[in-house]
Symmetry: C2
């Protein structure tokens, strides 16, 4: 054992004890005749003191030679500090060193190992092992561990069994490309890495496991957007003999438990909102309800006048920005520029100032009078002092545009407090989604989601109107979980796959095992999966998942630390019966 205590352990009560510590040199303050060393490990910092009077010359020399991030072992006596530091738990003591051993030297690290570092993202990723020494990263990883421990404790107590499902499986189309793994033993064949354990957890329900969960890595070979990872972690859950209400209850319970145990926040019953309402009121299926600013649809109070932009628009919709009347003309112009950025894509923005005296001043006064604008204010719930921002156009475009503006303004107004938690169930999702490029419908959740009772017949006549027994759990404007009640009979599954464009042959080849399983007594079942990376980030009061992953990949899917992926040698390719085709 290299140490008797860690660097967060010693207190005044230990004064007089002989101790052995080990750790990294955080800082050396050299006054010539007296040297202080801040010794750091995962648990804290302890101050070491070496001085001319009480220490040997050799010891003083060793101390003077120490550099940042050297790994040392210190033997010495715990003594009371003269000038105490109330900022750290060990601040009342220091160690008068009697022996000092360098366990390993260190080159000067490429960035400072401090809470606020001078290192940029790229260099921190390349030297991630040094980045992890920094408190913010280290604390995030420990936080993640605490969350997963609580998840397992809660679910296990609720009777869920964690079952490991295989990683070397078969392609399951869930809206993204699979990563594949060539099989050496089965020539010309490939495994796929799971995009989720979906089919396996359903088979576990057919197998009578009743309540399943797993914290599990999943893989998607997508062109990476910011804050997406090719491998990510899910809390994957499934239950048998349940209805949607049971699922919502159990996982609301889990989420409430986490908020309480991890964040110390007690949350009442989670509100629920239809998908359609979420889209209408927030332009978004994952609304942040920590603040209001609901959409007001203005078609019927705008299209009676001669303003062509509105009259030709499928949707005219506005939000009231609290206190926004205080914005200068310049600030409003900037806002208009903001919504016109390609990332948002609005063509323009109409605005209405709600004056303190109850009058209105708008950018379209030419077309609309005070009485008209008062109606807009009523629809958007605007008060004196607010600014109404109005966008118009196609429903599918204008809603996300106004939603983006709403989030941006809330951010600026400080309404997105990371210490406030506003969970929300969004329910009754559409079963299918139209792919505008191909003109085909695909499953909004996945092909195993069941339509609402009695709506199966509408798949032919009005596919877009069919609702699913599908639900998302939203927290502070982020989807943290989603799931559905599954189809559990072969016939319905076959109809569903047909509507998704699978030939009978393809359906059998890809999902034959699942449909066969449905013929041997499949119970009603359903489930949910949480995105662990995002859940942990949000509980941690942050939004960037990368900060909660020990060794994340960059936007090209590369691990820049180990430099992967990499070329493999011809021998290995040959064994796999493959040739590069560049």
């Amino acid at each position: 054992m290299y140490r008797s205590h860690n660097n967060g352990a010693l207190r005044l009560a230990h004064a007089g004890q002989e101790v052995t510590l080990a750790g990294w040199v955080q800082k050396v303050r050299d006054k010539g005749f007296m040297i202080w060393i801040d010794l750091r490990d995962r648990y804290g910092i302890t101050q070491i003191i070496v001085d001319e009077e009480r220490s040997s010359k050799a010891l003083l020399e060793t101390a003077k030679a120490l550099g940042r991030e050297f790994v040392i072992q210190v033997k010495g006596t715990v003594i009371e500090r003269e000038s105490k530091n109330s900022q750290i738990p060990t601040g009342e003591i220091e160690i008068l060193a009697s022996q000092l051993t360098i366990l390993n030297a260190s080159l000067t690290p490429p960035f400072t190992i401090e809470d606020t570092t001078d290192g940029g993202e790229d260099i921190r990723m390349k030297y991630r092992y040094l980045d992890i020494r920094r408190n913010p990263v280290k604390d995030n990883l420990i936080f993640r561990h605490k969350v997963t421990m609580e998840v397992r404790k809660y679910l296990s107590n609720e009777g869920f069994i964690e079952v490991e499902t295989p990683y070397l499986i078969k392609s399951t189309p869930e809206g993204a490309r699979d990563f594949v793994v060539p099989s050496r033993m089965n020539e010309g064949q490939f495994y796929a890495l799971p995009q989720s354990p979906q089919t396996f957890k359903q088979l576990l329900m057919v197998g009578g496991m009743d309540k399943y969960f797993q914290i599990v890595k999943c893989f998607r070979d997508e062109d990476l957007r910011a804050d997406r990872q090719p491998e990510f972690t899910q809390i994957d859950c499934e239950m048998a003999f349940i209805e949607q209400e049971d699922i919502l209850e159990v996982f609301e319970g889990l989420t409430r438990h986490l908020l309480k145990e991890i964040n110390g926040v007690v949350v009442d019953k989670f509100p629920r909102m239809d998908y359609d309402d979420a889209m209408r009121l927030y332009g978004n299926d994952k609304p942040d309800i920590r603040f209001d600013m609901k959409f007001g649809e203005l078609n019927e109070v705008t299209q009676h006048k001669d303003f062509k932009v509105f009259n030709s628009a499928e949707l005219v919709v506005g939000i009231a920005v609290p206190g926004g009347n205080a914005y200068s003309r310049k600030e409003i112009d900037k806002l208009i520029d903001w919504v016109r950025r390609p990332q948002v894509g609005a063509l323009g923005m109409v605005y209405v100032r709600c004056n303190e005296d109850g009058t209105f001043k708008s950018s379209v006064d030419k077309f609309y009078n005070q009485e008209d604008l008062a109606k807009w204010a009523a629809k958007t719930n605007a008060k004196a002092g607010d600014l109404i921002c109005v966008l118009s156009g196609e429903i599918n475009k204008v809603r996300p545009q106004l939603s983006a503006l709403r989030m941006e303004l809330a951010e600026r107004l400080g309404l997105r407090d990371p210490k406030v938690f506003a969970p929300l169930w969004v329910v009754d999702f559409p079963l299918l989604e139209l792919d505008e490029e191909t003109g085909h419908y695909h499953a909004m959740h996945h092909p195993f989601t069941s339509p609402k009772p009695g709506q199966l017949e509408m798949l032919d006549s009005n596919p877009a109107a069919v609702k699913a027994n599908a639900y998302d759990l939203v927290l502070n404007g982020n989807e943290i979980g989603g799931g559905s009640i599954r189809i559990h009979d072969k016939k319905t599954q076959a109809i569903m796959l047909k509507h998704l464009g699978f030939s009978e042959k393809d359906a059998k080849a890809q999902f034959g095992f699942l449909m066969d399983a449905f013929e041997y007594g499949a119970p009603p079942h359903g489930g949910l999966a949480f995105g662990l990376d995002r859940l942990v980030a949000i509980l941690g009061g942050q939004e960037t998942i990368r900060d909660f992953i020990a060794f994340p990949k960059n936007n090209s899917g590369r691990d820049v630390m180990i430099d992967a992926p990499a070329a493999i040698d011809d021998e290995q390719l040959k064994e796999l019966n493959l040739k590069l085709d560049l």
Copy 2:
């Protein structure tokens, strides 16, 4: 909710209550006027009763139409049974059904869903979801969950942090082939799936995480032997600022905790044995010490006579089989046939009967007298009534042969009691192992294992003699864990890699990131990994890991249930810049 109670919940105290149950039809006993249904779920079996007198005709008809494994919902009243069944917890009650709904029908399952099934291995694997309904398989999976929960609880309480390491990494040679994953975004490049998170856990130690663990899938593309899986699960652990003694202490603690919590068995301090002693006394580096039958080396008491077979042998070694003198000549001949099977490979076997009167009768009486044989008995610790079995030949061959015989005889003698647990640390493994085919040395544990202090220099002069700070945890003749103290400085690692045949360029390409990390203040560290599949099997009193894996693969690495691996389409190959080369 489809049920008010599960099928293991109801007792006599519930009599009179209206309940709703759901589950699978285990059995229907139809007496014409009275029908009993055994309703099964994960939690147990509850008896349902329908009869002419108290039930409607329609209900009786429905009950009569039920087949095995139908999924049904039953509403009814809890009543006291007339003839009670003390074998099951619900045996005092039954449910008088008032309503019976078929939730899903079932084809006749291809094998019986009973503890002892008529289904062979192949069919059970193809319909694994039905196999999982059987108690033995279901109970194994639940048992596995309990073990992992206890592992996490114990390690977390000891200050270990579970950190997820990436699956899409780079080749790390650990003695087996990597599975590789072509990268679409990085043309012509491949990720490798981890054979273990070895380098990452070491980087976490460099990163100051201090105590790490992870229950994690690992992958090896090996030609599968029986009871090996291409994907398997490790309890992977690493600690910083420790010596070998600390590691043994912590993981002995974990194992003792599991034996106590899971098996109710209290085990004292684990014995330790040098690798050399294990090989000498048991012919094996994972001896089963639940029973004795230690090897007795007989060279010095056999080679003074004219028996050429022994005189020319590098090793003459025997074991005493308790009570073996009772074997008939025919039984002994069978034993000789057994050791001559190609799987064992001995050329023959010499035996000595230890008669009750203290005399000996051997198969080599021509060469050895009573005095000689008495010495053999002393060396092998044989008593009157025993049978001494002696093999001879090259050390490296004869030891495993006699070890196999020892295990086989112990099995026959009932000495391998699965309810008895005999853990053992085997320590001081050799650092290197000679590959007899290539004549090269490779790392016995892995390239990151540190040699014993002061032995680094011997790498040039006598590589086979260098011992490592490496240890295995053995339980009942199975290696359940292994680990080592790691190298933590760049220079030693470079020397080690050179001796393993890596060019400087290859070493840098493959392990540059780790050796770089060693230059930035790497602490002394070491660790251990348990093979979870085997650990769980042994704690569960069994030896076949496949029975403790939900969805195992067969010996060709195939999942016969989902039929993977499988061909992928040309489009996908093209996206990956690959061509088949069959």
